[in-house]
């Protein structure tokens, strides 16, 4: 909480972003205390990891200090106080924190807790709700991340001529030759990170984890590689349009699982159609869609990062039309 207030006062954006990363990390540890291990895992990798990284990259392009605000933001303060007051007022009739008799614990959730083992056969209830009961939300989530990736591409992608590429190449190589130790350590680390990502990907049924977290970790490995070996080397290893196709394949894999169940006469995303035994079908379905999530998330994260970083090396900033 102190951190949040510090963020309001700070003018140095670098510190602000670092603090917001810490805020993400703290809320992740709070989620662990609240029994939400899956969420904590995601928040730690997203709130403290990816989003901080993105903000920092963006900051290198936009300058780091904030101008002081001249006028007194009384109106804003008033709006905030009214909204906050209304919320506090709303909390007055809420069930108490931690109370087991609250309506949310009595109505829909008990079925998930008591019957998901028979219906789906996966110990991690979060996974079964995420990937089966509310699988369509998750499909929407994959599409959201796909949309963001496409949006970033539309905004930031630059088409380079070969000679410019060569210039950037030489620049990068000289920059990165120095960190020999770092490079060797990273080279050793990356296989382990990738292995860990795969573990998280396929272990989501039993412990915390799943496609999204795995995708983020996988992307982190690639981003780490790109940071140390230079963008152009990384680009040479991983082709841009190739990743885009991968992102599309992830969404399509998820969707086609649904379409297959449609074709087999069941409803969209009804995995029991996938196999003769409904529980086995659920297993297979969850495995496939988690894979779809993982592939899309990893490729979109890489796309987003590459395009942010690629913009930075871009000497000719194509300004928009200035005319009215």
């Amino acid at each position: 909480m102190g951190i949040a207030i510090a963020i309001v006062r700070m003018k140095d954006l670098f510190a602000v972003i670092m603090l917001s990363g810490i805020y993400g990390l703290l809320s992740a540890s709070f989620f662990v205390a609240m029994d939400a291990v899956d969420v904590a895992f995601t928040e730690a990798s997203v709130g403290a990891g990816i989003s901080t990284l993105l903000m920092l990259v963006a900051l290198t392009m936009t300058g780091r200090s904030e101008h002081p605000v001249r006028h007194k933001p009384v109106l804003a303060l008033a709006v905030v106080i009214v909204t906050g007051g209304l919320l506090i007022y709303g909390t007055l009739d809420m069930p108490y924190f931690g109370s087991a008799e609250a309506p949310i614990h009595l109505h829909v959730a008990p079925r998930y807790i008591n019957e998901s083992m028979q219906e789906i056969g996966v110990p991690n209830i979060v996974t079964s709700v995420l990937a089966s009961y509310r699988a369509f939300d998750t499909f929407g989530e994959v599409v959201v991340i796909f949309t963001a990736g496409m949006g970033v591409l539309a905004l930031l992608s630059v088409v380079r001529r070969p000679e410019e590429l060569a210039k950037i190449d030489s620049l990068n190589d000289s920059m990165h030759e120095q960190h020999l130790i770092l490079r060797i350590v990273t080279k050793m680390l990356i296989p382990f990170i990738l292995l860990f990502a795969l573990y998280v990907q396929f272990h989501g049924d039993y412990g915390p984890g799943g496609g999204f977290q795995a995708g983020v970790i996988f992307a982190a490995a690639i981003i780490l590689y790109a940071m140390l070996f230079g963008m152009s080397t990384a680009r040479r290893v991983i082709n841009q349009s190739f990743i885009q196709l991968f992102a599309a394949i992830g969404v399509l894999l998820y969707g086609s699982v649904g379409v297959i169940s449609l074709l087999k006469g069941k409803n969209f995303l009804d995995y029991s159609a996938l196999s003769a035994d409904p529980v086995a079908g659920q297993h297979l379905g969850i495995l496939l869609i988690e894979l779809g999530v993982g592939v899309t998330v990893a490729s979109i994260m890489v796309i987003i990062f590459f395009n942010f970083a690629g913009r930075r090396h871009n000497p000719q900033n194509k300004g928009n039309d200035d005319s009215c």
């Binding site: 709303g90 809420m94 939300d137 969404v251 449609l262």
Partner: protein, 493 residues
């Protein structure tokens, strides 16, 4: 396959979007997107027909029954909205290929269609779903793609407009998320139908009151209801012309749909209109929206800005109809929803054609266009007449029902104000007519030709629809009447 139509309606455009990446040439992508959108339109026609004959369709996703899984629930209202959205999208997309040639760099064309399809899928998803949280997810799909699409505009102010829209839109969405969280906490369910049954038990609590307030404010931010409209004019004015036509005709309509859905179906009529002074609040906001925005429209120099402000005013009419909260009032709102989609898509498409030919839409550039682009300008005139509410156009039908509803309720002053508001529309439409027809063409503009057929066909399809539905009102009135009655719980379910 017929039983799966509700889900196909949404996933067809949604899965077509990533498929676009596999097509190499922008022209192919355009054709593909057009076919997909047409398919969605076809599906929505069949769905509307099914719903009108046999009542609401329920589709359980993943085969899980309702409060545990997510269900799609298509009733008359949602089928009507699905039809509007997919129809407008298809017609507008027809002109897209020509229009974006001059407005968007070629390497962005494929991305443009992908985002367009995603936005379409997001809006269809919001309307089709029967699950409150699913609404949030699809809202974000449609808004994120809309932000990116607006930012593709040629002018650098498109970026700033998109950024402002992003901030406002995300605040709106987060408010809705808070509201959904609060009602979920009080009832333990996210399914709309289940919510409507369980909410009355806890309706007196302060938590539900707060939830209602947050959802309404969040939706009104998306709706650009006066005075939360500040993001809209720039976003519409600087977006690529095709996107303006598409969003103006659909995005705010979806927000109106959400407003109706939450107040009538989820919270229930008696709660929505008794706990808060919502009726009086909305009448006042609606009317002041009409006047403030119409007056602002008169002073605009950019014609896209002008019609954007007029959109805010038209939202005011819909809100007035909504706040009457009688069957006729709601009918007027729904009719106006449909009619406004027709008018604004026709008008903005015509502006897209002007943009294509002369590269700008400043009012001063319109001088003499009446002779140089006669068909396009005629379309703008008819669209404008419809906006004013002249008989024989669709605009007349909805204004007629709106005034009828207001008078039924004995709100005479409101009726007078609505008529006065229409006079303001006369003024701003006249300014365009005057410049285009009664001023000599600008020097050096002799080379300007009529818009190409790829514009004229969709524009005139919409214009003819404007006149057709203004004369033969059976279809639109029947559908809106049944939809309004079912929301009030009278008549066939």
């Amino acid at each position: 396959m017929l039983a799966h139509l509700p889900i196909l309606q949404v996933i067809v455009p949604m899965m077509a979007a990533p498929l676009c990446l596999f097509l190499t040439r922008p022209r192919l992508v355009w054709l593909f997107a057009l076919i997909v959108s047409g398919l969605a339109f076809l599906i929505s026609c069949i769905l509307l027909q099914q719903v009108m004959t046999s009542g609401a369709i329920i589709y359980e996703l993943g085969g899980w029954d309702a409060p545990w899984g997510i269900e799609y629930r298509i009733d008359q209202l949602s089928a009507f909205l699905l039809l509007i959205i997919s129809a407008v999208s298809t017609v507008v997309l027809f002109a897209a290929h020509t229009s974006i040639q001059k407005e968007i760099p070629v390497d962005r064309h494929t991305l443009f269609y992908i985002l367009y399809l995603l936005s379409l899928a997001g809006m269809l998803g919001i309307v089709a779903t029967g699950d409150a949280f699913n609404v949030f997810v699809f809202l974000e799909i449609s808004s994120l793609s809309a932000y990116a699409l607006i930012a593709l505009g040629k002018d650098r102010r498109a970026l700033w407009a998109a950024y402002q829209y992003l901030i406002m839109g995300t605040i709106g969405a987060t408010f809705i998320l808070i509201g959904i969280g609060l009602i979920y906490q009080m009832t333990g369910t996210l399914n709309m139908n289940d919510l409507s049954m369980r909410l009355p038990e806890v309706a007196h609590t302060r938590t539900v009151f707060t939830a209602f307030a947050f959802i309404i404010v969040g939706v009104c931010l998306k709706l650009a209801l006066f005075p939360l409209h500040l993001w809209l004019p720039n976003a519409y004015a600087y977006a690529p012309s095709i996107i303006t036509a598409f969003l103006a005709a659909t995005a705010t309509k979806v927000a109106i749909y959400l407003l109706i859905r939450f107040t009538f179906s989820v919270f229930g009529l008696s709660f929505s209109f008794t706990t808060l002074p919502l009726q009086i609040l909305f009448v006042v906001l609606g009317l002041s929206g009409i006047f403030a925005a119409s007056t602002a429209a008169i002073y605009q120099k950019n014609v896209k800005h002008l019609f954007a402000y007029s959109s805010i005013a038209q939202i005011g009419y819909m809100i007035v109809g909504f706040s009457v909260s009688t069957t006729t009032g709601l009918m007027a709102t729904l009719l106006h929803l449909f009619n406004h989609a027709l008018m604004k898509s026709a008008l903005f498409l015509a502006l897209a054609a002007v943009m294509y030919r002369i590269g700008g839409v400043q009012l001063s550039q319109f001088q003499g266009l009446g002779r140089q682009m006669p068909l396009t300008m005629a379309a703008i005139v008819i669209g404008g007449l419809s906006l004013i509410g002249v008989p024989l156009t669709v605009g007349f039908v909805s204004k007629w029902y709106l005034i009828l509803a207001v008078i039924e309720n004995g709100w005479w002053p409101v009726a007078v104000l609505i008529l006065l508001g229409s006079l303001l529309a006369v003024v701003y439409v006249w300014r365009i007519v005057e410049t285009a027809y009664f001023k000599p063409p600008l020097a050096g503009s002799e080379a300007i030709k009529e818009a190409p057929l790829s514009f004229l066909v969709p524009i005139w399809v919409l214009v003819i629809a404007n006149i057709y539905f203004g004369i033969d009102t059976r279809l639109s009135i029947q559908v809106t009447q049944v939809a309004a009655q079912s929301l009030f719980g009278v008549g066939p379910p």
